[in-house]
């Protein structure tokens, strides 16, 4: 295992080095990708080995960082799972990046910096899962945040990118502050920073301190994961980054927030009172619903996907929240089911969201726009990208037999199991969560009909879309790998779910699920509440899909096909201006949920001066500003700007003035010292 660890470390390091030396050349870009692929592959193998053998991998350097208790690395099953998720997301993204970054040769961005940061980002993120004491964890966490900040700032020439970077760095450090506080509280009780000591002493903390640690950790890790209302950086930063980085940030990095939260809440503190689970469940439902609602109104393809990340983190948190609640009431098999659903969704989201971001990147690569209203007809010009994007869209919409369906089914089943909770006040929450989760998945399907339909189908809406071209092989290969993963994870849950069970076994006293409920070809929930088999379902669908056309063929029915114009109510000469747009597609839902969106509408009509029966021009503008931007962040930003402007008066740029300040401070200090 040590060899694998060293291989991971060295491969990422060499990848970063190659970028600095020869990142501009095509050969160098391939070396960068190779380093990342090998590093991620070694990480994946390391994670798989730990999960398979059940033996944690440890490495301790007491001489490094002696003040913080040394650099301690330990990979247990939970960390190993997330290391595997990193590998699954990173290998296709790195391959894709080899082709995608060619576009940056025009000097818009620094390729050596991009390549180096990409490898360092993967390295620090992998080390987060290995960290075994507070200082190591926070160092790697900050390393991950900073390297990803540089990746977001790749196209720093654009105003929007700089703005996004500012939001990201601000939110991530606000989160870091809360994490510091949470860990200080925890470590204060333990007198040491090692996770093993924290685990041992967490139970002896007062309940107030435990609650404080929980809330701080939830907010701190939540800001990274993108829970509402701390998600504001996601729709800004993810679209700004290069697409293979967006895929990693959205598919993998935000899951580190989930990892950290599970590590603290479930592993170190061993669960807590029921309201912990209730809070996580409530925030999860809110994130899921608001995420998908704002995604529906988005016409920037990558921003739409970023909002869907908020939605999916919400779904994951619903699983974790129910798990924590069951855990509190001692319903261990059901708790395990909730956590299994959540972890499964973590893995699934890494595959389909990675795939969708890579697909969006290919579209951006081909059309140079992220605005869906200027796309259309790409299915004919980029058939492979279209097929892969369709698979991703179907998977994220939880359609069987793909992977999104399996994890959502597990989470649904754990919510339905909520009726076993002995407290009636808690149980009445469950149907509401079930209803809202169902609404979320329905809206997600609607949103992806929009995203795929407007982007890839019908006639091109702009010359750029009409002249789009298919992506190079490396990019298609990256997408193909993730599409295969989506299908594989969908039809073979019997291979995944038991593994997730063993990962969870022992965390916070969870039992080994293999003794509690069966998960073979048939997935069966505890006490046989529900049973289904995606494997057989996929087999049946495939069989029928072969059978139906063959029967029709055997019947020798009329198979003539004639190409003709689309029917335009008698009008000939169809143009792209007659097509349905993304705005129009989302309009009914905008009306239905107008209470939440509160859209701003502006209609100006110019009439002919002679008669108002002749309209000269009509201008219509509608805008949706998310309420949390207005209610939460604007007052805060305004007051911060105000304070900054007051402080600015002191800083007039005159050296003499600054000397005066120094003199005044010196005198004041002398007076104070005299007084004391």
């Amino acid at each position: 295992m040590k060899t694998l660890f060293l291989a991971m470390f060295i491969a990422y390091g060499l990848g970063a080095f190659a970028a600095l030396v020869g990142g501009r050349k095509s050969f160098g870009r391939w070396l960068v990708a190779l380093g990342a692929v090998l590093g991620a592959g070694a990480g994946l193998a390391l994670g798989a080995t730990v999960i398979a053998t059940g033996i944690p991998f440890t490495l301790f350097f007491p001489e490094l960082l002696p003040l913080g208790g040394g650099l301690a690395l330990r990979l247990d099953a939970l960390g190993a799972f997330f290391l595997v998720v990193i590998g699954v997301g990173a290998i296709p993204a790195a391959l894709y990046g080899a082709g995608y970054t060619a576009a940056y040769k025009d000097g818009r961005a620094s390729l050596p910096l991009l390549g180096a940061m990409f490898n360092l980002f993967l390295l620090t993120m992998s080390l987060v899962t290995l960290a075994d004491n507070v200082l190591t964890f926070l160092l790697m966490w900050e390393g991950m945040s900073l390297t990803s900040y540089f990746l977001v700032m790749t196209e720093a020439g654009e105003e929007r990118t700089r703005n996004a970077g500012l939001w990201y760095i601000g939110m991530t450090h606000a989160g870091l502050g809360m994490l510091l506080a949470a860990f200080l509280l925890l470590a204060g009780g333990a007198g040491s920073g090692a996770f093993a000591d924290l685990r041992a002493s967490a139970a002896s903390l007062t309940s107030g301190a435990r609650d404080a640690v929980f809330v701080l950790a939830f907010l701190g890790f939540g800001s990274k994961a993108g829970i509402v209302p701390l998600h504001v950086w996601l729709p800004r930063a993810h679209p700004a980054a290069p697409s293979h980085v967006s895929a990693l940030m959205s598919g993998v990095m935000i899951k580190m927030g989930i990892y950290g939260f599970l590590r603290v809440a479930l592993d170190l503190m061993g669960g807590g009172p029921a309201w912990w689970g209730g809070l996580v469940l409530g925030v999860g439902v809110a994130s899921a619903l608001l995420g998908v609602l704002y995604a529906l109104m988005e016409h920037d393809l990558k921003r739409l996907l970023a909002y869907h990340s908020v939605e999916n983190v919400g779904i994951i948190l619903i699983g974790i929240g129910t798990g924590l609640m069951f855990h509190r009431y001692g319903l261990m098999p059901l708790a395990a089911l909730g956590f299994i659903g959540a972890l499964y969704h973590v893995l699934n989201h890494a595959t389909f969201k990675g795939l969708l971001f890579l697909g969006a990147g290919s579209v951006l690569h081909a059309t140079h726009t992220r605005n869906m209203e200027e796309m259309g007809g790409l299915i004919k010009r980029m058939p492979w990208t279209a097929l892969f994007f369709l698979i991703g869209a179907a998977a994220i919409s939880a359609l069987p037999p793909l992977n999104g369906f399996v994890s959502e089914w597990l989470i649904f089943q754990s919510l339905l199991g909520g009726v076993s909770i002995p407290v009636p006040e808690v149980v009445v929450l469950m149907p509401v969560a079930v209803g809202l989760l169902a609404l979320t998945s329905g809206l997600a399907a609607a949103c992806f009909v929009k995203a795929f339909g407007i982007t890839f189908l019908a006639l091109p809406r702009s010359p750029e879309a009409a002249h789009a071209h298919e992506s190079p092989f490396s990019m298609r290969l990256g997408m193909a790998l993730l599409a295969l993963a989506c299908v594989g994870l969908g039809v073979a849950p019997f291979a995944v779910v038991p593994v997730l069970g063993t990962i969870l076994a022992g965390l916070g006293g969870l039992p080994d699920t293999r003794a509690e409920f069966t998960m073979n070809v048939f997935l069966q929930t505890p006490s046989a509440f529900g049973q289904m088999s995606p494997t057989l379902m996929a087999l049946g669908l495939l069989l029928l899909l072969g059978l139906v056309p063959s029967v029709l063929w055997l019947l020798r029915l009329n198979r003539q096909r004639r190409l003709s114009d689309s029917w335009g109510c008698g009008r000939v000469g169809q143009t792209a201006r007659m097509e349905y747009t993304a705005t129009a597609f989302a309009e009914p839902l905008k009306r239905v949920f107008a209470e939440i969106y509160r859209p701003m509408k502006e209609l100006t009509v110019d009439f002919h001066p002679e008669s108002k029966y002749f309209v000269q021009s009509i201008e219509y503008r509608s805008e949706i500003t998310p309420w949390f931007d207005q209610a939460l962040y604007r007052p805060f930003l305004q007051s911060a700007t105000f304070v900054a402007q007051q402080v600015r008066r002191l800083q007039a740029g005159s050296l003499h003035l600054y000397l005066l300040y120094i003199a005044i401070v010196l005198i004041l200090l002398l007076i104070v010292a005299r007084w004391l």
Binding site: G376, I379, P383, A394, S397, L399, P400, F412, L416, V419, P424, V428, P431, V434, G435, A438, L439, G442, L443, A445, A446, F452, G453, L457, A458, F522, S527, A528, G530, Q531, M532, S533, L536, M537, G540, L541, L544, L545, V548, L552, N558, Q560, R562, L563, S564, D565, S566, W567, G568, C569, Q574, M578, E579, Y580, A584, F585, A586, P588, L589, V592
Partner: protein, 312 residues
């Protein structure tokens, strides 16, 4: 033997589905003082459509040619999970009610996509509305499932049927009745019936389902029409057999199966009659009033779950 019966049941459902739609149409015509086409008219239509050539839009992609098969197959797959005649089915464990719902959503998803494919305004309008209605109907379905599962202790259809058969009092519990009402409203919305969508019209700005499939012809249209009627029959049978399971065979004796066929036909006639009367009496709702109707069904479903929990 069991598997042969299962396949036979699917063939039975496939064969009966057009008749159910034709029967409702015929009954509606009679109630409106029209002579109407005979109930078996949909069979002639299917035969005619299968014999015609297919006219495909120049703008359409390969998805347009695949989608009818995907829609048909996903609906057909559901018939293997629904206990039309007997329960539990041998394939009962392959998919539960949630799987049924999501398989049907798979068909809707692809139908909505191909509505956008030929690039006409009509198709886009249809798919936008279809997805809106489908999304808002989803919570009610989930809650109705929850309510049923609460009573039966399982989300699998076979268990729900046998559990209610074993405990007849459960069928008249408030939770059961409320869930039935909620699911009935959703069934109207999902199968494109009045007051949500008008199945009888083709040239109206308010149409939903018909607008999506406007570009289809020939064999493709036949497949889509057939799966639409199959979906209608699936929803009616779910309403009939999950809430009033009497008549469903639990063993495979010829007598029991004969009783099951007759019972299913009776229930379908009853439900069909009810829908025909309803469609004669009510007008189509404005599109933006539909969410209110579905909101009502959501509240009914929520009440159903709460009451079946409290009265457990």
């Amino acid at each position: 033997m069991k598997y042969v019966l299962e396949v036979a049941q699917t063939v039975f459902a496939l064969a009966l589905a057009p008749l159910v739609v034709g029967f409702v149409r015929w009954l509606k015509a009679r109630l409106q003082n029209r002579r109407g086409a005979p109930p078996w008219q949909p069979y002639f239509e299917l035969v005619k459509l299968f014999g015609k050539e297919m006219v495909v839009s120049k703008e359409a992609s390969w998805l347009f040619r695949c989608a009818p098969y995907i829609v048909f197959v996903s609906t057909l797959a559901v018939t293997f999970l629904v206990p039309f005649l007997f329960a539990p089915l041998p394939f009962d464990g392959v998919g539960d009610l949630l799987a049924v719902v999501y398989l049907l959503l798979l068909g809707t998803f692809f139908l909505a996509l191909v509505g956008l494919d030929p690039g006409t305004a009509f198709g886009g309008m249809g798919s936008s509305r279809e997805m809106t209605v489908a999304a808002i109907a989803e919570p009610t379905i989930a809650l109705a499932i929850f309510s049923l599962a609460l009573g039966a202790g399982s989300t699998n259809l076979g268990r729900i049927v046998t559990q209610t058969l074993g405990n007849p009092a459960a069928a008249i519990s408030p939770g059961h009745v409320l869930a039935f009402a909620a699911l009935f409203i959703v069934a109207l919305a999902e199968t494109g019936r009045l007051p949500v969508d008008n199945p009888a019209t083709h040239l109206e700005l308010t149409m939903i389902h018909e607008a999506m499939i406007l570009e289809y012809s020939g064999r493709y249209l036949a497949l889509i029409e057939w799966s639409a009627s199959l979906k209608f029959m699936i929803f009616l049978s779910l309403l009939a057999n999950l809430f009033v399971p009497w008549g469903v065979a639990t063993d495979f004796t010829p007598v029991a199966l004969a009783v099951a066929v007759i019972a299913l036909l009776l229930k379908l006639v009853l439900l069909g009659f009810f829908i025909a009367v309803l469609e004669t009496r009510v007008a189509k709702l404005r599109l933006f009033r539909v969410p209110e109707l579905l909101g009502v069904s959501f509240v009914l479903a929520l009440l159903a779950v709460t009451s079946s929990f409290l009265l457990r």
